[in-house]
């Protein structure tokens, strides 16, 4: 059996009852479900933006509800992409990508190469000094992706990352995510209601309402 990067065991709270799942290292995992079925809530539980009533969530074998300095730990281990408004509009692309590295207290001399590498991997290196207001929706999502991979996390959680994108751009973004997943070995867990993404994943979980 492959090593699990994420384990969700008997998690319950409100909408979700006894959720169990496991994501292997380097997997591209997609949770498919219609809107309102609790996908986003599940992701919020995993990054502790919400608190579970019962159950256990482990990342790399560590029970995340037992971690004391969780914020710093999260900054170094979990990347996150929202459907929209992922970025701080008053910071440029470089500074947005640098933020989680600051939160994880990565030394200054290490930050610059990591930010530039992340921007390069999503094709935005040339736009490092540009502010989000000048980006297209797709570029914004790519920048959010760069910010997530810059910290070299154990897992990247993406909550409807293509929800606001047209079909072609959706395909491009999911393709880029798959490519980065292959290249870096970082596990991805994407929550979406778009069933056409089914083929892009190495593993799919379908939730019913």
């Amino acid at each position: 059996m492959e090593e699990l990067v994420l384990e969700v065991r008997d998690v319950s709270n409100g909408l979700l009852k006894d959720v169990n799942l496991g994501v292997e290292k380097g997997a591209f995992f997609i949770v498919l479900a219609p809107s309102g079925s609790g996908k986003s809530t599940l992701l919020e539980f995993i990054c502790r933006n919400r608190v579970i009533a019962s159950g256990q969530i482990r990342i790399n074998g560590v029970d995340i509800y037992g971690i004391r300095n969780f914020h710093k730990w999260k900054a170094a281990n979990i990347g996150f992409i929202y459907e929209e408004n992922n970025l701080i509009p008053t910071l440029n692309a470089y500074e947005n990508v640098e933020l989680p590295l600051l939160a994880a207290k990565v030394p200054k001399e290490e930050r610059r190469p990591r930010v530039l590498k992340a921007l390069d991997s999503v094709g935005l290196k040339e736009k490092a000094a540009v502010y989000p207001v000048k980006f297209t929706m797709e570029e914004e999502q790519r920048l959010a992706l760069a910010r997530a991979i810059a910290i070299d996390p154990a897992i990247i959680l993406a909550d409807e990352p293509t929800g606001k994108l047209p079909k072609k751009q959706t395909e491009r973004l999911i393709g880029l995510m798959g490519e980065l997943n292959q290249k870096t070995g970082i596990a991805f867990m994407v929550a979406s209601h778009d069933y056409s993404l089914k083929n892009a994943a190495s593993k799919v979980l379908e939730l019913s309402q």
Binding site: N49, R50, V51, K72, A75, Y82, T90, E95, L99, L102
Partner: protein, 371 residues
């Protein structure tokens, strides 16, 4: 440092939202600095006009201390009491030199005045004053107001006198006074034989209450009673009777601070309301709630600090060429924005900002509270 940078960039990038807020704050900083300089200046000027070591003897139960009448003969009776080192008398009078403009003049004993008040004046000028019975010495403020020169013969409100010297007595109401020989002023105002107050120098400050009591008991036969208090208290009473300018300024300063509190709180709420969504991003990225609070807290605080400095400097440069005599009375202090006032003003603004924005910043960062 990063938090500071993020907060600063937020202000810079949201300048069109912050600009009206910053401009209003600059106006308030200017007003607060001006009011503070008047309030602090006023209390300072009265406090420094009198000495704690000197005792003033004046007529009790007068509506105005300036109207006190103490017979000159009391001087020799007081002198016989123990612990008295020296004694002098002074007569004061208010003259109206222009519509709604008045000032205090004093009649002193030239031989004693310099021993009691540490005035800065060239010796030759003081000697010339002593020799000329119609001579006067004028405070620096009076010189700036009337542009009088030493040696000039002047008529003011039917009073003829010769300018014999210009003195400085920093932070004192005397700076706004014309000082006459007491005999001449008594004659001019028809109060011959009377002082407004007698000033006593005692051998040791510990004998103050003993001497005060002895003086008051000595004149129990006086129809309205005689009070003997420290000169500082005497000037404090004068300040109150001159309309308590300092107190009024202090009340206005507090009112200004209260309005400022509301302005900062509302301004911060307006600017931070637009940024609630960002709190969630910061949290997801891994910033602690304390750090997120600090970012949102720093932002209005930085705005207040920048505009506070702007307003204080505006007050400083605008009042650097301050009017020589402020307000209707010459003894009202000029607007003097000193480094102490600037610091006090900036500190008060920051304190108000800390209190008023902390709640807003807490609410914004708490909008992401775990459910």
């Amino acid at each position: 440092m990063h938090i500071f940078k993020i907060a600063f960039k937020n202000i810079r990038k949201n300048l069109k939202f912050y600009l009206p807020f910053l401009l209003i704050l600059i106006i308030f900083a200017f007003a607060l600095t001006t009011l503070l300089s008047l309030a602090l200046g006023s209390s300072q000027i009265y406090k420094k006009s009198g000495s704690k070591e000197l005792l003033a003897v004046f007529e009790s139960n007068r509506a105005c201390v300036m109207a006190s009448l103490v017979p000159e003969a009391y001087k020799s009776r007081i002198m016989k009491l123990p612990h008295i080192e020296d004694i002098t008398g002074e007569v004061r009078h208010i003259i109206v030199y222009a519509p709604k403009k008045s000032m205090t003049v004093a009649g002193v004993e030239p031989d004693k005045f310099r021993a009691f008040k540490d005035i800065q004046i060239p010796s030759a000028e003081y000697e010339a004053f002593k020799k000329d019975p119609h001579g006067v010495i004028i405070g620096k403020k009076v010189e700036r107001l009337f542009k009088w020169k030493v040696g000039e013969a002047v008529t003011l409100q039917r009073m003829n006198f010769n300018i014999r010297g210009i003195f400085k007595l920093p932070l004192s109401v005397y700076n706004g006074m014309i000082v006459f020989h007491k005999d001449y002023l008594q004659k001019l105002i028809k109060k011959e034989g009377y002082f407004t107050a007698i000033t006593i120098k005692i051998d040791s400050p510990k004998n103050k209450s003993k001497v005060s009591k002895a003086v008051e008991q000595l004149f129990t036969d006086h129809p309205s009673g005689i009070s003997c208090k420290s000169e500082t208290e005497f000037w404090g009473m004068t300040e109150k009777q001159m309309g308590d300018f300092g107190k009024n300024m202090r009340v206005l300063t507090v009112l200004c601070a209260l309005v400022l509190f509301g302005v900062i709180a509302n301004g911060a709420a307006f600017c931070l309301k637009r940024r609630r969504g960002q709190a969630k991003i910061f949290q997801t990225i891994g910033f602690t709630r304390t750090k997120i609070f600090t970012i949102f807290f720093m932002e209005p605080l930085l705005a207040v600090f920048i505009s506070g400095i702007g307003g204080c400097l505006l007050a400083f440069f605008l009042w650097i060429k301050q009017p020589t005599i402020g307000g209707e009375h010459a003894i009202i202090p000029p607007i003097a924005v000193t480094p102490k006032v600037l610091l006090a003003s900036l500190f008060s603004m920051l304190l108000i900002a800390v209190i008023s924005t902390a709640v807003m910043a807490y609410k914004t960062s708490n909008g992401i509270k775990a459910k």
